[in-house]
């Protein structure tokens, strides 16, 4: 289980100079993009994927993971200082965080956010280490039918908790699965390629991801009305009031527990965790300031929750090969490109990778705590970089990165097309996250479905006779029902900006 030899291997791997540098780079870039509004972990990870090819698989995953949980640290800086969340998961931090800044306590707010994030991140990492092996051995008993059911369940979970209309999310998810079919089928025949030879390998993942997320996001930001935010970029130091330290600790622990659970669930994630934590803190916040007007619980709880969720989000990915969201889907493709097939066998086959990653997460959280407390002044100044300088740089970086991958201008044209598509869909309430999930899971689902039916000689009841499969499909059915039923009665929207 959490054997000492595993930990020893993990730290030995993580502490090599190359991996340490990867960890630091990832954490730094993560905080940076977390601070900068308009640039998020999904776009950045999609962007940096090609650059990770020169790294070892372990180094690549360490860096990309660092970007993801690092962004959860950085997002709170702008939330507190200028009431603008750098990341969706820091939206709720704006409320009490900015209130505290207005009261002249921005330094304390930033410290609480950093420390809360650290607690959440560290405990989340420990949970990842503890849960991974038992979960993986459970999943090792899965057969093809069970895998199919598992992934279908993952897809359903991903859409029933998606932002906005569930029906639209389902539509996007199905479209993604269909898009994933383009290319070559199991017998080697070209499928849906419209005679275009470049499509034999399927739709390029990079053009899809960058187009639908990055480009669409940029266009959306440029077309949205501009609010001049009130800037409190001078950071003041202040000390906690009596009793506040204890309240911060309590709120952090509550947030960590919540975030750890919500991070594991497909479709959950840091953003949902932060919102739920805030709702919980409403019941617990005591003291002179009530929640919403500068209570430390309003920062500590959600920030711990979002970091814990970011760590435990790796559990389904690394143990079952199941991505719980858009970012995890990207990491899944990154692992595949490096020749690693995520699933229950990963821990056994690549122990250095897995335990090295876990150890690096802990190291990364320490680095982030150290980076964030003193460097806050730097981040505050960085926030003032005007968007009109930032986004062309991002664009060029994206284009060059995509071209560097394949030296194909066709990929660039596809990126542009997906950008248009992504933006048009977005304005009508169709989010790209479920589509991305569908594309990534399309091939595994088809493969496993094929094998399951081969084993059962075409008998569909195999999905019911396999106990794991039956349970998973039942859960998926229940989730679908519970989210579609209210729609039949009235309109319903659910808030979960995770897939931005």
């Amino acid at each position: 289980m959490l054997g000492l030899d595993n930990l020893a291997l993990g730290f030995a791997t993580a502490l090599t100079p190359g991996n340490l540098l990867a960890c630091l780079t990832g954490a730094f870039i993560g905080t940076l993009i977390g601070v900068l509004p308009g640039l998020g972990p999904v776009t950045t990870i999609a962007l940096l994927l090609p650059f990770t090819f020169s790294l070892s698989p372990t180094g690549a995953v360490i860096m990309l993971a660092g970007i993801y949980y690092g962004a959860q640290y950085g997002g709170s800086v702008t939330a507190i200082l200028i009431n603008l969340p750098g990341e969706a998961s820091s939206t709720i931090t704006c409320l009490d965080g900015h209130a505290m800044a207005r009261q002249g306590r921005s330094g304390l707010a930033l410290s609480v956010a950093a420390i809360g994030s650290f607690i959440g991140g560290t405990v989340g990492t420990v949970l990842l280490a503890v849960l991974a092996v038992p979960l993986a051995s459970l999943a090792a008993r899965f057969e093809a039918a069970d895998y199919t059911a598992l992934m279908i369940c993952g897809l359903v979970a991903g859409v029933t908790t998606a932002q906005g209309s569930v029906l639209k999310a389902i539509a996007m998810m199905i479209s993604g699965v269909l898009l994933g079919l383009i290319g070559t089928d199991a017998t080697g025949e070209a499928r849906f390629t419209l005679g275009i030879p470049e499509l034999r390998d399927g739709i390029g993942f990079m053009p899809l991801a960058i187009g639908m997320f990055g480009l669409a996001e940029i266009i959306a930001t440029l077309t949205s009305p501009d609010d001049r935010p009130v800037m409190w970029t001078r950071v003041s130091t202040s000390w906690p009031e009596p009793g506040e330290t204890r309240r911060v600790a309590a709120a952090s622990l509550r947030g960590t527990a919540l975030g750890s659970v919500l991070g594991v669930l497909p479709g959950g994630g840091p953003t949902m965790a932060s919102f739920v934590s805030y709702a919980v803190e409403r019941k617990f916040a005591r003291g002179s300031r009530s929640l919403g007007s500068g209570a430390v619980e309003g920062i500590a709880g959600p920030e711990s929750a979002n970091n814990a969720a970011a760590q435990t989000a790796f559990v389904p990915l690394l143990t079952l090969g199941l991505p719980s969201g858009a970012v995890m889907a990207l990491l899944l493709s990154a692992l595949i490109v490096h020749g690693i097939q995520p699933g229950p066998t990963v821990i056994a086959k690549e122990p250095a990778l897995f335990w090295g990653l876990v150890a690096s997460m802990w190291i990364g959280n320490v680095m982030l705590l150290v980076l964030n407390l003193p460097l806050v002044g730097l981040w505050a100044r960085l926030v003032r970089v005007p968007y009109r300088l930032l986004y062309p740089t991002t664009l060029v970086l994206s284009c060059t990165g995509i071209y560097a991958l394949s030296h194909s201008t066709v990929d660039l044209v596809m990126t542009a097309l997906f950008g248009v598509l992504g933006y048009l869909l977005r304005t009508r309430g169709f989010r790209a996250g479920p589509l991305l999930l569908g594309v990534v899971l399309s091939e595994p689902i088809e493969d496993n479905l094929h094998r399951a039916l081969l084993f059962s000689d075409g008998d569909l009841t195999t999905f019911v006779t396999h106990p794991f499969s039956a349970v998973l499909l039942a859960i998926a059915g229940l989730m679908l029902l519970s989210s579609v039923l209210p729609i039949l009665r009235q309109g319903r929207t659910m808030l979960s900006p995770e897939d931005r």
């Binding site: 440029l222 077309t223 005007p386 664009l395 060059t400 071209y403 201008t409 660039l412 542009a416 933006y423």
Partner: protein, 81 residues
């Protein structure tokens, strides 16, 4: 009162990607990057032409350093050289 941006941002962003696609092989990395930055910048409400020009040069230099210098990618910097 803010001017409504209309189609300008969308055209600028998409146009800049297509510009890059057209120029990268024909003209090389540096011209492609510079024009891409300029066209992309035109999508912003706060366009300041001088800033955009400076940005174009800086980003082109940075990309050359990053991709060709640091990452060793086989890009032609300017076609014909």
């Amino acid at each position: 009162m803010t001017r409504h941006p209309g189609l300008r941002p969308g055209l600028a962003v998409i146009g800049s990607v297509l510009t890059f696609a057209m120029l990268i092989e024909r003209a090389g990395l540096i011209p492609a990057v510079m024009l891409t930055v300029l066209i992309a910048s035109s999508g912003s409400r706060d366009l300041r032409v001088r800033d955009a020009l400076v940005l174009a040069v800086c980003v082109a230099a940075a990309m050359s350093l990053l991709f060709v210098g640091f990452l060793d990618q086989p890009f032609t910097l300017v076609a014909g050289f």
